[in-house]
Symmetry: C2
Subunit: 378 residues, 2 copies
C-alpha cells in the first residue's frame, strides 16, 4: 500500500509530498520512504493565503481558493510522479492535511451556541477526481467534535515509531509553531504527552521579513549579532500560552506580525532591529525549553525536526537551556526532517483506510479515540 | 438500510429531514418514507447566512458557521428522533447536502488558473462524531471536477423513480431556483435532460420581503392584483440564462435583491409595487414555460414539487402558458413535495455507500459518471 502524504503547514511556504510504502495492514506497519519533494508556493499564492487568513473578504475568495489548492495539488502530483518516474498505478491513496485557514478549538460564541471550529482548504472530492485516487482529508474536525484540540495529530505516528523501552524521548518539531511529543520509556498511549509549545519560526520569520526583507534568518546569523532586550523579553515571557497546562494548541491567530507590533508598542523607546530579532529568538527557545522542563523531562533524548531546526543559533540556545538533554536529528532514525509531517499524514491516511483510530485523546484532550478523516473516491 | 437525508436549500428557510428506508442494495431499490420534518432557521441564522453569502467578512465567520451548522443539524437530529420515536440504532447513515454558500461551476480566473468552485457549509466529520453515524456530504464537487455544473443532482433519483415507458414526463421543482428533469418515454440516462430554468421563488420572495414586509406572496394574491409592466418584463426576458442551452445551473449569485434593484433602475419611472411583483411573477412563470417549450416537450405530464408550488397564481400562469401539458402533484406518486430533495439526497447517500455513480453526465455536463460524496465515520 503506497500512500502519498501531502502537508501544507502553518508556515505557508509550500507543499510537502511524501510517498510512503506501508508493508502490512496493521496498526504499526513497517514503512519505507519511496520519494519526497517540496514544491514552494508562489509569492502571489502566499500573499493570497495571508489575505484570506487575515482580511475581510467575500466568501467567493475562499471558495475559489479551496478548489484552487486541489487543482494545484494535482498539478504538482503529476510533476512529482514525473520527477521520480513513478507509475500512477503504484499510488494507492492520497492523504492531505489541507492548508489551515482558521483553527480555534476552544468554544467561542456564534449565534446561540458556544462552538469550536477549524478550517482546512483543499477540497478532497476535487483532488480524488483529478488524480484518479481515493483521497483522505479533514483529519482535525473529528477530534474537535469530541472536545479535543484537533492537534497535535502526529502523536500516534510519534508513538508507534519512536517510543522506546530504554529511554525517555521527546520529539521536537519546529515549524511555524513548535510542538513536542513526550514519550516516557515503556509508556502506553495514555502516558504520553503531545502539545504545542508556542512559536516556532513564525515570529522569527515575520521579523526577518518585516525588518530585514529576507524570508528567514539564515542560520540565525542576524539574531546572533543582536543583544537581548530584557524589558521586551520579560513582556514576551509573560505569555499565558507558554505556561498553560497541556493539552494545548495554538497558531497564526495568536502569533503573527500584529502580535509582534503590539508587544513592541509597549516599549517606550526604539529597539535596534537586530536586538528585536535576538530577543524573539531567545523567547522562542525559552518557550520550548520551559515547556520541556515543566511538562516533560529535560533529561530526555530530544529528536528534533522541522524547518526551524536549520536556525543554528536557535538550536544553540536550546542546547544551552537544556544541558542534560541528548540532542539527536530525526534523520538518525531514517526520517528526513522536512517531511516528517507529510509522512505522519500518510500514516493517518493508512489508519483511516483501515478504520483505525488516529487521535491520541491524552494528547488532544478528546473524550475518546476515534477514526479521523473523510474519504472521497476517484 | 435507513438513511436520513438532510437538505438545506438556496431559499435559506431551514432544514428538511427525510428518513428513508431502502429495501435492497441495488441501483434502484424499493424505498419507503419513515418520517419527514422541517426545522425553520431562526431569523438570526438566516441573516447570518445572508451576510456570509453577500458581505466581506473575516474567514473565521465561515469557519464557525461551517461547524455551527453541524452542531445545529445534530441538535435537530435528536429532536427529530424524539418527535417520531425513532430509535437511534435504526439510523444507518446520514446524507447531507450542506448549505450552499457559493456555487460557480464556470471557469473563473483565480491567480494563475481558470477554475470553478462550489462551497457547502456543514462539516461532515463533526456531524458524524456528534450523531454517532456515518455521514456522506460534499456531493457537488466531484461532478464539477469532471467539468460538470455540479447540478442538478436529483436527476438520478428522478430517472430511477419517475421515468415511464408510456408517457413523457417532466419533474418541475420550484425552490429558490426552478429546475426540471425531462424524462422522454422509454429513455435511457443519456436521453434525459435536467437543468435549472431560472428563478423559482427567489425573486418573488425578495420583492415580497422588500416591498411588502412578508416572507412570501401567499397564494400569489398580491401579484394577482397587480398589472404586468411590459417594459420591465421585456428587460427581464432579455435574460441570457433563460434561453441558454442546457446543461446549465444558476443560483443566488445571479438572482438576488441586487439584481432586482439593478433591473428596476433601468426603468425611468416608479412602478407600483404590486405591478413589480406581478411582473416578476410573470417573468418566473415565463422562464419556466420557455425552457419546457424550447428544451423539453410541452405535451408532457408535468410533476410539480417545491415550495413555489404553493404560489397558486404562479401555477395558474404556468397552466396557461403550457395548455397541452397534464399537471400532476408529486404527492400523487407518494412523495411529499417539500421533502423531495431531502429524499433524493438520501438516495445519493445510498448510492455513495454502495460505490455507485450519482451524477448524470448528460444533465450536469460532466465528462463521465462518477461516485459522488465524501464519507466521514462516527
Amino acid at each position: 500500500m503506497n500512500i502519498l502524504g501531502i502537508m501544507t503547514g502553518t508556515s505557508l511556504d509550500g507543499i510537502d509530498y511524501a510517498l510512503v510504502n506501508f508493508q502490512e495492514v496493521s496498526s504499526k506497519p513497517t514503512f519505507s520512504l519511496i520519494a519526497t519533494h517540496f514544491f514552494e508556493y508562489t509569492e502571489a499564492l502566499k500573499n493570497k493565503i495571508r489575505g484570506i487568513i487575515s482580511e475581510s473578504l467575500p466568501i467567493s475568495e475562499f471558495s475559489q481558493f479551496n478548489f484552487y489548492l486541489s487543482y494545484l495539488f494535482n498539478e504538482k502530483y503529476q510533476e512529482f510522479l514525473d520527477l521520480y518516474s513513478i507509475n500512477p498505478i503504484d499510488i494507492d491513496c492520497i492523504a492531505t492535511h489541507g492548508q489551515t485557514i482558521w483553527h480555534n478549538p476552544n468554544n467561542t460564541s456564534f449565534l446561540d451556541k458556544q462552538i469550536p471550529s477549524t478550517l482546512q482548504a483543499g477540497n478532497i472530492s476535487i483532488l480524488a477526481k483529478l488524480t484518479g485516487k481515493p483521497v483522505v482529508g479533514d483529519f482535525r474536525s473529528g477530534d474537535i467534535a469530541l472536545g479535543g484540540q484537533g492537534a497535535p495529530l502526529v502523536t500516534i505516528f510519534d508513538y508507534d515509531y519512536f517510543h522506546n523501552n530504554n529511554e525517555d524521548r521527546i520529539l521536537l518539531n519546529i515549524g511555524g509553531i513548535s510542538n513536542i511529543t513526550y514519550l516516557p520509556k515503556n509508556s502506553n498511549l495514555s502516558q504520553i504527552l503531545a502539545f504545542d509549545c508556542g512559536p516556532g519560526n513564525i515570529l522569527i520569520d515575520a521579523i526577518a521579513s518585516e525588518y530585514f526583507s529576507v524570508a528567514f534568518d539564515k542560520n540565525g546569523a542576524i539574531a546572533k549579532n543582536g543583544n537581548i532586550n530584557h524589558q521586551l523579553l520579560d513582556i514576551l515571557l509573560n505569555d499565558d500560552f507558554i505556561s498553560k497546562l497541556p493539552p494545548k494548541s495554538t497558531g497564526r491567530e495568536k502569533y503573527n506580525k500584529y502580535s509582534i507590533e503590539k508587544v513592541l508598542s509597549l516599549i517606550p523607546y526604539q529597539i535596534g532591529k537586530e536586538d528585536i530579532l535576538r530577543t524573539f529568538t531567545e523567547f522562542t527557545a525559552t518557550a520550548i525549553a520551559k515547556n520541556i522542563i515543566q511538562f516533560a523531562n529535560p533529561h530526555s533524548t530530544i529528536i528534533a525536526s522541522g524547518g526551524g531546526r536549520s536556525n543554528m543559533f536557535l538550536m544553540e540556545l536550546l542546547h544551552n537551556k537544556l544541558p542534560q538533554a541528548k540532542f539527536n536529528n530525526i534523520e538518525d532514525y531514517g526520517i528526513p526532517s522536512d517531511f516528517k509531517e507529510a509522512i505522519a499524514f500518510a500514516y493517518l491516511g493508512h489508519l483511516r483506510l483501515n478504520n483505525m483510530p488516529g487521535n491520541v485523546p491524552f494528547a488532544t484532550g478528546a473524550s475518546h479515540s476515534t477514526i479521523l478523516g473523510a474519504i472521497a473516491l476517484p
